[in-house]
Amino acid sequence: DTAVSQTPKYLVTQMGNDKSIKCEQNLGHDTMYWYKQDSKKFLKIMFSYNNKELIINETVPNRFSPKSPDKAHLNLHINSLELGDSAVYFCASRQSRGTPGGYTFGSGTRLTVV
């Protein structure tokens, strides 16, 4: 009954590879997010989709491409992985007309690029 689920939980890959992280929410929320927690532990927003439409795109290298096939899914594809991409990536969702808070996070995907 996981509300926001991410797969895989751990991902170790070599530099230059392409990888994807998947996220699914069963809360009926209309907005989904990707956050990155870097080595300094800051959680920073990367992207946000509302009803499959991109609404937030922070300064992220274009090697990162989010894809939302429907409002319950937001996947993150990363091309040509670099060492600096190593981080924990969190997916989150919320209902846009709900409380200003109301974010539910997944348990994270720890990406290690070697």
């Binding site: 959680l43 946000s48 609404i55 989150a92 200003p100 808070g101 974010y103």
Partner: protein, 113 residues
């Protein structure tokens, strides 16, 4: 440029005593503030929030205080319990800021029994 700052990386408190976690922000467009709790290998979970029109919000053992003029908020946990040991993130957002959650770096709270 850190718009939400948690200047104490860690805090250690005895069980039963009060834990006070602090947070400062710089962006006056923020109008909603949240605290999240995070255990290792898990995602942040919502704890408590406060709107900028209030100065206090209480939920059981947790109380958040907001001082808008000082751009400062704090989370009080009383009494502290060993299960409260976790990383606590302060976060802020606002409609005029695009409803993006902006997080602080977190404070590790250790409650000793």
């Amino acid at each position: 440029d850190q718009q939400v700052k948690q200047n104490s990386p860690s805090l250690s408190v005895q069980e039963g005593r009060i834990s006070i976690l602090n947070c400062d922000y710089t962006n006056s467009m923020f109008d909603y503030f949240l605290w999240y709790k995070k255990y290792p290998a898990e995602g942040p979970t919502f704890l408590i929030s406060i709107s900028s029109i209030k100065d206090k919000n209480e939920d059981g053992r947790f109380t958040v205080f907001l001082n808008k003029s000082a751009k400062h908020l704090s989370l009080h946990i009383v009494p502290s319990q060993p299960g409260d040991s976790a990383v606590y993130f302060c976060a802020a957002n606002g409609m005029e800021y695009g409803n993006k959650l902006v997080f602080g770096a977190g404070t590790i709270l250790r409650v000793k029994s």
